[in-house]
């Protein structure tokens, strides 16, 4: 449309104006391009870092990219929707494995997000009133978030060893439980995984909720106290509704992070991952790198992407509708 305006401008009046005042406002070409030029680096990075790999991944999911073709990708024959068929055929070993892993991941994510939120909320509310040493406690709570993930999880790995680990040592000293349980193999692996993931994640919930709490006006609480509302009532009727926008984003982010968590199982279990701790991101990694079948792994990744997009979409629609109603 701007091109049309430019052409419509009488040629005689334009050139002198341009010569007399060479400012940005009089150079429509530059003016038009400047925003794009400023946005370009971000767009470029977004394309290179996110969009291109995603597109390559989607392409990979439709070809037979096994060890016979990884040296020469372009020669890989089309697999049609075969990779998806295999991944979704739940009577078959591969599909069954994916389904089980999906189930484990759903349980893991729901429990981890719930625990992290409850702990984060409890700590944030507890630290809401000012008291001596609050800053120290706050800093202490943020340690898991500040530690490099690898170091933190590796320490948990040491602590959860059966014979030499601190956890079993403490349990034995306290005469709790029978014998020395395994924490990193068998069914306990899921408990360990949830514990470590929660330990890593809850401080983020705490930090976000703490920031949210500071924006609630104190006089609301004072007024409620005057009206005789107890602490729990205040929390339910003031804190919770005021934090609603924060919570909406927080829960979604926590869920997306936990659902596609790779580091925790990878560092905690190494190459000996137990079925009870077989999270989906890790499962997909194994499906592509251990069997050298990158097409199949890519198909599983695309399915995971679709699932997360659907969940996010439904979540945003439902919560958005409620917000409007409120």
């Amino acid at each position: 449309m701007s091109v049309a305006t430019h052409e419509a401008t009488p040629a005689a009046t334009k050139p002198p104006a341009r010569k007399s005042k060479p400012g940005i406002e009089h150079r429509p070409g530059l003016r038009r391009w400047l925003p794009y030029a400023l946005v370009a680096p971000a767009v470029l990075m977004e394309l290179v870092i996110h969009i291109l790999p995603m597109l390559v991944g989607i392409w990979m999911s439709f070809v037979k990219l096994t060890k016979f073709f990884i040296a020469n990708w372009s020669a890989a024959p089309s697999a049609g929707i075969n990779n998806y068929k295999v991944a979704l055929d739940f009577d078959n070993a591969v599909g069954e494995g994916l389904l089980k892993s999906f189930g484990v991941t759903v349980v893991f994510s729901l429990v981890t997000v719930a625990l992290s939120w409850v702990l984060g909320m409890a700590a944030a509310v507890a630290l809401q009133p000012a008291f001596k040493g609050r800053a120290i406690v706050r800093t202490l709570f943020l340690v898991p978030y500040a530690l490099p993930a690898y170091a933190g999880i590796l320490t948990w790995n040491f602590m959860l060893q059966r014979d030499t680990g601190a956890v079993n040592h403490v349990l034995t000293q306290l005469h709790l439980g029978d014998g020395k349980p395994f924490w990193l193999i068998g069914s306990n692996a899921l408990i360990s995984l949830i514990t470590v993931a929660t330990w890593k994640l809850w401080t983020f919930a705490f930090l976000t909720l703490m920031a949210g709490l500071t924006s609630i006006p104190r006089d609301l609480y004072e007024a409620a106290s005057v009206d005789g509302a107890g602490n729990l009532r205040q929390w339910r009727n003031i804190t919770l509704p005021s934090l609603r926008p924060v919570n909406l984003v927080l829960v979604l982010v926590l869920f997306l992070w936990t659902f596609s968590d790779f580091n925790t199982p990878y560092v905690l279990f190494g190459t000996a991952q137990p079925p009870a701790g077989d999270l989906i991101a890790f499962h997909i990694y194994n499906a592509s790198f251990l069997t050298w079948n990158f097409g199949s792994g890519a198909a599983m990744s695309v399915l995971l992407l679709i699932f997360l997009m659907i969940v996010t979409g439904i979540y945003l629609i439902v919560t958005g509708r409620k917000s409007r109603r409120g």
Binding site: K67, I70, V94, P181, L184, T271
Partner: protein, 437 residues
Amino acid sequence: MRLRSFVAAVAATALGVSLAACGGSDSGSDGGTGGDQTLTYWASNQGTSLDNDKQVLTPVLEQFTKDTGIKVNLEVIGWNDLQTRIQTAITSGQAPDVVNIGNTWAASLQATGAFLPFDNDALTAIGGKDKFVPTALATGGKAGEDITSVPLYGLAYGLYYNKAMFAAAKVEPPKTWEEMVTAAQKLTNPAKNQWGMALAAGSYTENVHFAFINGAQNKSEWFGADGKPTFTSDGNVQGVLRYLDLMQKDKVANPSNAQYDNGTKSVNDFATKKVAMVINQNNADSSIVANGMKAGEYGVVPFPAPAGGEQVASHVAGINLSVFKNTKHKDAALKFVKYMTDATTQTTLGKPFSSLPVLKDAKPVFTTDAAEAAIFSDIYNTKSKPLPLVPAEDQFESTVGKAMNGLFAKIATGGTVSADEVKAALQTAQDQVAASS
């Protein structure tokens, strides 16, 4: 217009990316026309640590540079990363010139087509194929095709036993599986945390070797002549169960072993005298000695088969050397392979890396114990069976090995594993291999 300029921006970006990609592949390796040639060599971890490997190899590589004028850029890569690094190198084309591989991967890596086939000319350039022990050379690739790797270090499994413990319990070194179990039971006392054997029961790479060897002792194959998996044959199921029973039925291994995710942990238990026996490849020697045990304190016998079984005590284990096909220094790379598989170099490296010779008529130098050397040579030359030389071998390793990890975990946490469950687990492994081939 807004749309058009957006498209232009995208196109410019895409162009920039593809230009950058071209630049990347160009700068990967320097041109080979000049007199100054530098090879990149990825070595596997053979010594007691990555640093130790570097120290051992550096003087050997300096000698090569002195002899030929070819420089070698060395990188030592740990076992946990090596396969992924090779995969990445193959996928991206940004590869070293020469690389060490676990010889069991040879046929799988050959299938990628990324390695230089050793045809007659190439074999002549490295000193002829006749210098190698035939069983070792046979691990170089699929039968009937030009091999894509040549043997570098030979390894074999042996049953290490603690001489003092055996004497105290008045047991003889076992000759059959049954004798081994009896001896192990006599030497097990869980109350004192004393166990007959240590197993790397959480390591899928170790577990799969024992699945293979125990199956082979039952005269069973893991792949048919057509290259299709035959994991669930009765011999394989019973072989796997026999190995699992060391922890389950015979109770001669600490259930904690289910968490041992590499062979070093079980070897350390043996070296620190917590267990009386361990089955490991002969490179355990360096770790055992490093932990304070002296050469005469332990003995080695072949890993025994059950009475009436096939006398297979090991797979033909070891490390092979491959050249990447897209190397720009093919002649220099072949010279390097020749040098590394030369009798003098082999003797120099045999001791620090505890390896068996892959050359005909060469003497093992990895130990001063003549009996141990003789036994390992005998195992390597007459009691070893090569792992299946099929492209799906790597999948066999990961699927069957991981299935065994799971079965050991079940036993360790108090469950029981029957032959039917072993069969079901192997069936799942077989389906996984079938689905991705």
